[in-house]
């Protein structure tokens, strides 16, 4: 009952803070901005308007070229059936909106060119294409534009001209009309990446990103809320509330209540984020980079995220609580923070490098070390198939060490919260452990 009172108070204290509310709303917005915005912008910006003037000395190419290029999009769509890959193509080459104009006017090439160059400078046209008389023989044209590095534009023009030339050739050979169409049809390529002798599923990048986000989440929550536990205890010492609290509850209940109350606030934040992400995922799905589409994390990985998220927070927050209990000021607590930080950052870094090779024997071994389990075992579950007994063993080890750490730190906490003034030495802290 008193445990609930403390949990309630700690929870409420955090949740009504402006920083909590803003952080809860803003963080996903920022992440969404980082993930979604680039592809959204790319989709907009990559739409190139290419107005191209054609000087056709053959008098046979222009009308076909206009047809090919101005409808190039719909043509491609016919050829490539999966819109997903088409989208990917767009991502790389961008959408090009061709407008093909036949040059009408003088015959003097120099005059024509100087006129067109001025138009390019004035951004009235994208560029101009000179198709010489002997085009069908030599298959050579000249394209002049301010930007000749746009692969999409060049590739489209190249494809269209080759098609026209080939068709002309086949017509000459009296090929049937429908055969010609078949011959000049493009080819669809499905790409599959091979890594370490195995085919990667196309949604691998999505899974990778989701799992990384979850690891970052475990890391962040431990860091932010662990420190919140620590600061709360230092504050209680500073405003001298501790003694009143201890006259009402035992130190163990106080200790547990603090950790659970603050943890509940963290859990709430993560749940809100999950709901926001899910909503955003469904709503914005059309803007999603194709790599993220269909990204799923296996239910097992999700369940293990929940388990490791909660257990990891518990394990580390006991350390933060001790750091708070033996300190008199925030600055003092910061010094105790360093060794704790190492214990958090180390598995965080290892977990990233182990994504590539989660079954590396060292990673496997480290994933059983309780302080590394939450992040490393999660990565192993997400990226490889972990034998169930290994998973259970790691969870049991983790729970056992939590019980042990809670016992140890509650003892240090009990004496630490009442000692003011000089910061205790390690020797003194060890002595506290022996106090009945």
């Amino acid at each position: 009952m008193k445990l609930i009172t403390i949990i309630k108070k700690e929870f409420k204290e955090i949740v009504v803070k402006k920083a909590f509310i803003i952080g809860t709303i803003l963080t996903p917005v920022l992440i969404v901005a980082m993930v979604f915005l680039p592809s959204y912008i790319m989709g907009k910006v990559a739409k190139t308007d290419a107005k191209i003037v054609v000087i056709d000395y053959t008098n046979a190419v222009f009308s076909q070229l206009k047809k090919e290029l101005e409808s190039s999009l719909s043509q491609e769509n016919k050829n490539i059936k999966t819109p997903k890959i088409n989208k990917e193509k767009e991502m790389v080459e961008g959408l090009i909106n061709f407008t093909i104009i036949k040059y009408k006017g003088g015959k003097n090439l120099k005059k024509i060119e100087s006129e067109l160059k001025k138009k390019i400078e004035d951004k009235k046209i994208y560029g101009y294409l000179i198709i010489p008389k002997d085009f069908f023989k030599n298959r050579a044209v000249v394209f002049k534009a301010k930007n000749v590095a746009n692969i999409g534009v060049l590739k489209s023009i190249n494809n269209a001209l080759r098609k026209i030339a080939t068709r002309k050739l086949l017509e000459k050979e009296n090929f049937p009309e429908d055969k010609i169409e078949e011959l000049t049809k493009g080819v669809k390529i499905t790409t599959i990446k091979i890594e370490k002798g195995k085919e990667k599923r196309s949604s691998f990048l999505g899974e990778y990103m989701l799992a990384v986000i979850l690891v970052v989440l475990i890391f962040m929550v431990i860091l932010v809320y662990g420190q919140s536990v620590m600061r709360g205890i230092v504050e209680e010492k500073n405003v001298r509330v501790t003694e009143v609290l201890l006259s009402s509850v035992d130190s163990f209940t106080l200790f547990l209540g603090k950790i659970m109350g603050v943890g509940a606030a963290g859990l709430l934040q993560v749940i809100v984020w999950a709901i926001m992400f899910l909503g955003g995922y469904i709503y914005f799905t059309s803007f999603l980079p194709s790599e993220l589409k269909g990204a799923t994390v296996s239910p097992m990985a999700f369940a293990s995220f929940g388990i490791f998220f909660i257990l990891g927070y518990f394990l580390y927050s006991t350390l933060f609580a001790v750091a708070g209990a033996v300190s008199n000021t925030d600055q003092e607590a910061q010094q105790f923070l360093q060794p704790i930080m190492i214990l958090i950052i180390l598995p965080y870094l290892i977990s990233f490098s182990s994504i590539q090779n989660p079954e590396n024997p060292i990673v496997v071994l480290l994933s059983f070390f309780p302080f590394f389990t939450p992040m490393l075992m999660f990565v192993r579950v997400a990226f490889s198939s972990v034998p169930i007994f290994q998973f259970i063993l790691s969870v049991i080890l983790l729970i056992m060490s939590i019980v042990f750490m809670v016992y140890l730190s509650a003892k240090i906490f009990r004496i630490g919260i009442l000692s003011y003034g000089k910061r205790p030495t390690l020797k003194e802290i060890v002595k506290w452990l022996k106090v009945r």
């Binding site: 108070k9 204290e13 405003v239 001298r240 003694e243 009143v244 006259s247 009442l418």
Partner: protein
Amino acid sequence: MDKIEIKNVSKAYGSVKAVDNFSVNIQEGKIHGILGPNGAGKTTTIRMLLNIISPDSGEILIDGKPFEEEMKNRIGYLPEERGLYRKLKVKDTLCFFGELKGMKPKEALKEAEIWIEKIGLKDWFNRKIEELSKGMQQKIQFVSSIIHSPEIIIFDEPFSGLDPLNTEILLDIMLEMKRKGSTILFSTHILEHAEKLVDNVTLIKNGKNVLSGTLESVKSKYSANLFRVVLEEEDPKIKEFPYIKDINDFGKEFEIEVEDNIDSVKFLKDIVSAGIRIEKFEKVQPSLTNIYLKVMKEEN
């Protein structure tokens, strides 16, 4: 009847004996003052009583039983070092401490509303603690320690740092709680409040109980042939009578203890014939302050 029995309790911090074989019985429904200088062991005794720290030896019984966690709900405690959560609202503060003492949330809220009205801070009920003045915070702190109507109230140096107005409010609260049947134990080194308030008194020095009993018994034990003399103007001759045993000099006012065989007639006659002009002359009972000073000096 004894509500609390402290039996031969000792507690040492390293080589320093904070409390040394200390015993005292606290009677039910009475106000008991523990008096002593700083560092005498008052706070340590109180913390052991609340089971915040455990004694090295000896035992403490409440209602004849050793301490149980459940007893915390029946005790109200105001520590010497005071403070509240700065960011918490007044209402939430009172409810939180009430609930921590086992009250139901509704019950705590109801009591909080009654008390906030009583101490005249109704308009501040929904404000944060940090917005309150120090005096207001002190009042909130008193209320938070007794909101659950405890059987036993323990105040550690309750009067230190209080302005006269809040001192009065605290005295009222203590007397009201006594009328309701609470047993009140408080420590102090401000003796004038103690004298007005206590039924029983214990003097503690170097962790030892050096004097204990009802106020009357202590006073009669230390009764002395004591006079209060106020002079019209300062005159050193007042200090020169050969039968003076002890003298407290306040400038124009003196507390003078004389030998037992000297009565008021003889003393007054001698003063007049010495030509000392007096404004007031009276035979007085020794005050708690007199006794306190005497005991503390004696033991040295």
